[in-house]
Symmetry: D2
């Protein structure tokens, strides 16, 4: 295991909401890293992000980043339909890659990208940020230490404060592929087992326009794990009180619960009741620390010559689960996942 | 609506665990009621219960109670297989009846009992005690007042601290009929709608002996309501930390959550963590107030000449749901309930 | 230690709010006890209480109870100015006594009553009900087991939902003697040590009429214990959100916190916040179980031939503390308690 | 009111624990600011801090910073005994100043420094970071909006996880001046009124070495405000479970409570209890956001040409309170503060 002492130079491809978060973390907050450049097809977005970070290197053409030998790694935070191609090109250029989820909506495309990484011998980390959240990570540690015995039930609640735009939703792959995919990853990771059966129900309760996309905005999904545990995920595109992400894992010796995070710890009590704060309203604030931690892990993996803990297979498995959920929803039956 | 001012004389049939609770409430704590007699085929159980309540009237033969013209109402807390017959006999004797759930495991038998009550013109209240719990009742009130808008998701957790004896389980009708039946009732009542589809998964994770009964001890059940809402119930026969009964109803304008009740409000903080109390360990303590309230409601209905809020149909519907859950579990598909 | 097997017959003197609670507990809920008679100078109050409990024995003259040889014990729940005299008369009649706090507002009068009990060799239990509350008792147990190490700080909050009537307050002895006296008892008991110094501040913030009585309605009181621990009590006659009674004991190895009890465990979340239930509104509901437990303890002490755990000295010590608090308030200095 | 658009260049004097926090915030996280230089008499500390922040300007002589015309403002985070002098020199050099608390332990010295600032017409902000914490700020907002009516009681708990070194404590000015001073500020600010009387009790329960300094390590302090409200502060130098900082303000129309912040939102439940996370262990983590916010406010004040919300008088008043607390402790009486 070789350790590098010079900072790892990282290029960020995509200067949208998430790309900006990653760029800022790399610029200031990740020890051992150096933000090398920012690329975005919208040149102005790349320029503005660079300026905010006092970085003089930005481009509308990501290929400049791939061509720069001094850059060892890239963060892919562009639109989903470009992920697989960029992974392949980056691997071919010998860059380690951090890629936002999902890798692609098409399984064959995912497999091709993973094969490209494998043959290039480069690293690939998938952006399942919840694994790096202090609360989720603590829950995982409790389970791993045997703190709840054998997991028997997992219950995940995952609700957004409001739906994304219809334009976004139309190309998102739908609820299971776009939103539940995080929950599928959390389920596999916390239980420490693979899902073998899925049964889903969905409904359009938030916005009829979502129904017209042949999508659903509200769902409950039952899971069966290989080792026998059962699980349930509920999703809604609109929780009026904010971003609601909670998990409970119940086992033979106890349970562990991840609650919401609130922006403050204030309780206001009047004759009308005792009012506690709502959860943080959006994932960017809720998972601020998680975004920082996952990038620190990516950089540390490169520096220490080890493989990321959330690799390509972890990007592929939830996609299979999403496909099974869609099939279950449409056929009204429990669907077995292929081994 | 005629009001009676003399106390309502009530006989209790069955001096087991629940029968004793009802008898004690009628003896002391329900205004307008008088415990008239206790019957149990095990004469000693009837005698002992009566003695504890300073009551001189007990019998091994419940027919003495039915024959007593001074007794207006009976509580049926005997074994499940006797419920339907006792309802019919009590109705024939002109008694108002409070009956523990379930009415029977056989739907035809249930229908016959309900018909007998209807033709006798007597009252029948089913012992779905959770509806009378201060926390569940408050949640219902919040929903009924529009506090969460239109219900979209209901999530019920219901776990026992340990399985009943294998002897009991063998005749219980199985998990869905014996345990989930309370949750089915809660789901219908809180959402205020009927369930039209059920999809269940089950597993034997607690005790292989339960599997040998062709039963399951752990389950997750998805529900779809007529109006579009979705739901999920999870059950386990064994939560090592105590009796765990929680509900969340999520709607278009907010959510309402019923938490567990703890025996005290103490938090103990040491370097090892901040330790809160476990939930009350068993349903008898957890629902002590609910048992009292439901009996008060039963007696008040008789005194005020009105129909109980939890009638025969409320006893029948959850049985249909349990049967659909069994069918779904066995056939691996979503099962539609008949109208 | 001789155990009696016949029920202990108990007479209740005083059929006001608290007297009724004790009478009902003795009638139905305390094993090994029998409510023998109820006395109240207002004959109608005595009659009505007896009727509600299906008891045929009531009187306007408590001396009938003292004269009844079949009655072994009495509960004194009459007005404060009669307590000391009744204790003496009951002791002279050989009755064991349960007496509501305070014994008297005058220390010499208290001492005379305690001497009378001592010379009669009868039992005396003071009604410091909080010691029998499940939450307070659990906190005491945690401390006694060494769960917080050596106590260093105790903080007590004790606030009523609204002031009693001015008529009542005028004869109550004032805030420290009437209300803080419970907190003084809790402080001694939880820390397990005696208070040696008191420093109090008071204010009239709730009702100027209370100020005209030369009383205060809001106060903070600092305590120093013999062993070195410090403490603080805060009181208000009016907490608009309900009855607020909490305690924290902080020690060298941790802390223990007693929170409020709520009437239900419901949380209602909307965009306006996450609303939890208010504390129970009044001490009768909040301490329902404590009133039952203390009476059970009193009866058990008699049956088992042992001394009550809350004896005459426990009634005397908080009165000394109240007097020191008044002195501190008036003189603007820390006051030492006499040994 | 003139707004500056170029970044405000700020020098940091003192590269200890807090100086580093301020420097890092100015380097990366405060919009509109630029970290210009770091000074520390220990040159290596200055150099190392600068290097971590990729800053090439550091010095062992703060006078270089004061002499640099391009630097508009300084942060004083050096040892307490240098604060007043540095404020004066910085004011003379025309710099706006952010100074850590306390200004000085000597009141005359404080007054001289404040006079120097006044005559120079520069800005001075005191580092009472809690005012900028999201929870404390939210509590203040609730009170300011009338959410609790008129404040009547304030209760502050403030406990460190372990004492600072005896060397530090020996020059700290003692518990009230070093630690309670934050609570004195919070009390004035949240109640929105000045304290007119103080009564304190103290004890040495944590470490006898602290007693040898003629200091205390545990204290309770009662406060009376000009408008009539009362207050209590409790302090301990050692809470074994972590940094414990909570406040409750109780008023005529309700109460507001600031709880602790925990590093995660995980609850782990086993038969041994339901274990919640401990509070964050130290003030640097607990108030990370507050340190950032106060610096952002300082820079915004300069840019927008307005006076800081926490000015010199806010640095002076708590010092007066600390002196009164010492006097009360030593004389065993309530001490009035001079107007």
């Amino acid at each position: 295991m070789a350790a590098t002492s010079a900072p790892i130079r990282v290029g960020v491809i995509g200067a949208g909401r998430i790309g900006k978060v990653h760029a800022a973390n790399l610029a200031y907050r990740v020890a051992g890293a150096e933000l090398a450049a920012v690329a975005d097809p919208v040149a102005e977005a790349a320029r503005e992000t660079a300026a905010q970070l006092r970085l003089d290197r930005w481009t509308a053409d990501y290929r400049e980043i791939l061509a720069d030998k001094s850059i060892q790694a890239v963060v892919i935070a562009s639109s989903t339909d470009t992920h697989a191609r960029l992974i392949e090109e980056a691997a071919a250029a010998g860059k380690d890659v951090f890629c936002e989820k999902p890798i692609d909506l098409d399984l064959a495309r995912v497999d091709a990208a993973l094969a490209a990484v494998k043959s290039a011998g480069t690293r690939l980390q998938i952006g399942f940020n919840r694994r790096f959240d202090p609360s989720f990570a603590r829950a995982r540690a409790v389970i791993a230490e045997g703190g709840i015995g054998t997991p028997q039930l997992i219950k995940i609640t995952s609700r957004d404060p409001q739906p994304a735009s219809i334009e976004y939703l139309a190309v998102s792959g739908g609820l299971f592929t776009d939103m539940t995919i995080h929950d599928f990853d959390v389920a596999r990771w916390l239980v420490g087992d693979e899902v073998v059966e899925i049964s889903a129900m969905g409904a359009v309760l938030v916005d009829p326009a979502i129904g017209k996309l042949n999508d659903v905005d509200t769902a409950i999904i039952n899971l069966r794990f290989k080792g026998g545990a059962l699980g349930n995920i509920d999703n809604s595109r609109k929780a009026v009180y904010g971003y609601d992400v909670r998990v409970e894992v119940f086992g033979s010796a106890g349970s562990v619960l991840v609650g919401n995070h609130a922006p403050n710890a204030v309780t206001h009590t009047t004759p009308a009741g005792s009012r506690g704060e709502l959860p943080m309203h959006w994932f960017i604030e809720r998972f601020e620390q998680a975004y920082l931690n996952e990038m620190a892990e990516f950089v540390a993996c490169i520096r220490e010559g080890r493989a990321p803990s959330v690799g390509g297979e972890d990007g592929r498995a939830p996609l299979l689960m999403a496909q099974a959920a869609w099939k279950s929803l449409r056929e009204g039956r429990t669907v077995a996942l292929e081994a």
